[in-house]
Amino acid sequence: MASQGLEKKHSIQDMIAQSRNKKGKKFIEKCMPIILVITALISVLTTIGIVMTLIFETFEFFQRVSITDYLFGTEWLPFSGSEPLYGVLPLILGTLKVSVIAACVAVPLGIAVAIYLSEYASDKTRRIIKPILEVLAGVPTIVYGFFALTFVTPILQELIPSLKIFNALSPGIVVGIMILPMIASLSEDAMSSVPNSIREGALALGATKLEVSLKVVLPAALSGIIASVVLAVSRAIGETMIVSLAGGATPTFDMNVTGSIQTMTAYIVQVSSGDAGYGTTIYYSIYAVGFTLFVFTLLMNLLAQFISKRFREEY
């Protein structure tokens, strides 16, 4: 074997040496990083594109409506023939109502599901349930919209007689159902990435599963969980079809959740599928609202990143 090896030894290295220094290989090696940077830059260009699209028309809008009226006005009546008012606060409030209700539904449930899946369920159960929940996340939002309008609202009306057909409660709950899988799934990921050794450490002290889950795993995964919640809530803020269908179209500035509302997204849909004339102030207002929405979600996302950076656990 030895002698044969020696003999052949040079042949392979020779073959290698021959094929080395082929131009193509070096060229690819040099080019790929450049091509890849370009693909990476597309996401940056997208953001720039979004900001640009929004900013020009928003600028036009603020030529017509003063920024302070927009930011601090408590009445949003763009269609009023006599005296249109563009105070964005009712739209923001509508958005917040829906998001807060959604969070109230989705956060406790989602975390409970995550704990169940990550700490209690068997591997097999988890592997069955997680994808089913993902289906729930993939249900198109118009389906949820009709679900809210034709199923959840009537049920809620039985319970709360004063509830209007359009209200914040029903779409809030349904948006909560929609974002629940996101919280459950991402929190589950965060919790399962807590190393088993830490769990074992607690179990070896005589802790019950509940104590391990709540006092060790949950705190250790907290940053991931909070980040998932923030992301899910920013999804709720951006949700469009559910609130357009079931939330109504009356921006109100009060804390009532049983009456009709309008969210920022629903307003954009209303106008962009509606009757407003091109070039009118109403038309430009959707860009201003879109920009506001963008800033909102941007802040939420920065918050999520801040949280997950600031509180990242090292294990």
Binding site: I165, S273, A276, Y278, G279
Partner: protein, 299 residues
């Protein structure tokens, strides 16, 4: 598609009336606009596909305003509208150098409806409608309009503020005054139907087609003694709540795109019939002839 003979019978022999189907055309036609007009357009497109299968007609439903936006951007050949074009839009079109022609295609009778259990308000006058619908800062009860009516709160349902229907009602009934604040507004007329059908104290208004489809669940209110029917709307007797529906066509496209010209011709020839088929009211025949004449002039 599968537009077979059976299809044609269902369509009241619409295909047979089309005499323009001799020369087989190809090309694309694109339109957008009012959701109110869209059922008529859909019926037309469906039938036209049987006549000229190689002409690709596509129509979006972005609302009247959204339709004009795309029309102004030059993306569409025609734009459906449930109201006449606005001055801003005219100006923008001029700026964009787009010449257009307005065609009327049908009437939509706005129908005021109440719950079938409501036996007091089945006949209203325009003045009563005003009283009902204009915002006056109070919470209205039926007894506020007429003391003999029940002492119960009125529940209002109206199409969304951004719809042509709302605009039209606001203009002709309310003279531009603000609509009752307590009204539930929806972009989806089915929701209004549901709302009124389920509440004895409800009142609402929407397109005639939605009433026709839900006759058994709703009572149509007569306005100044006239009930909304095909006849009263076509004859103009049902005033002021019937409004014309429009198609705006781009002149240059009519000239250059034979398929588009042919489709518009087909539209004007069959719009009346199709309108009735989907729950609207046809115009008097002269109107369509006028349209066809105008169209010919643009070829």
């Amino acid at each position: 598609g599968s537009e077979t003979d059976e299809d044609a019978t269902n369509a009241n022999d619409a295909t047979e009336t089309a005499e323009s189907g001799d020369a087989q055309l190809t090309g694309t036609v694109s339109g957008d606009g009012s959701s109110t007009v869209s059922p008529i357009t859909e019926a037309l497109v469906e039938e036209y596909a049987g006549v000229q299968p190689d002409v690709q007609v596509s129509v979006g439903v972005s609302g009247t305003g959204g339709g004009f936006e795309k029309f102004i951007a030059g993306e569409t050949d025609f734009s459906n509208a449930s109201r006449p074009i606005k001055d801003e839009e005219k100006a923008e079109l001029e700026k964009a150098g787009i010449d257009y022609t307005e065609f009327q295609v049908a009437f939509d009778g706005l129908t005021v409806v109440v719950n079938p259990e409501n036996d007091w308000a089945a006949e209203l006058t325009v003045d009563q409608l005003k009283k009902l619908w204009i915002e006056d800062g109070t919470t209205k009860k039926w007894s506020d309009i007429d003391p003999s009516w029940p002492d119960e709160e009125i529940v209002f349902y109206s199409p969304g503020t951004d719809s042509g229907t709302y605009d039209y009602f606001d203009e002709v009934i309310l003279d531009g005054a603000d609509l009752e604040n307590a009204a539930t507004l929806s972009e989806d007329d089915n929701v209004l139907v549901q709302g009124v059908a389920s509440d004895k104290n409800a009142i609402g208004f929407f397109g005639y087609a939605y009433y026709l489809e839900n006759k058994d669940k709703l009572t149509a209110v007569t306005v100044d003694g006239v009930a909304p029917t095909n006849e009263t709307i076509e004859s103009g007797e049902y005033t002021p709540l019937s409004r014309p529906l429009f198609v705006y066509a781009k002149n240059s496209a009519l000239k250059e795109n034979e398929a588009f010209y042919d489709f518009m011709k087909y539209t004007l020839e069959n719009a009346g019939e199709m309108a009735e088929a989907v729950g609207y009211v046809k115009l008097p025949d002269e109107k369509y002839d006028e349209g066809l004449k105008a169209l010919e002039g643009l070829k």
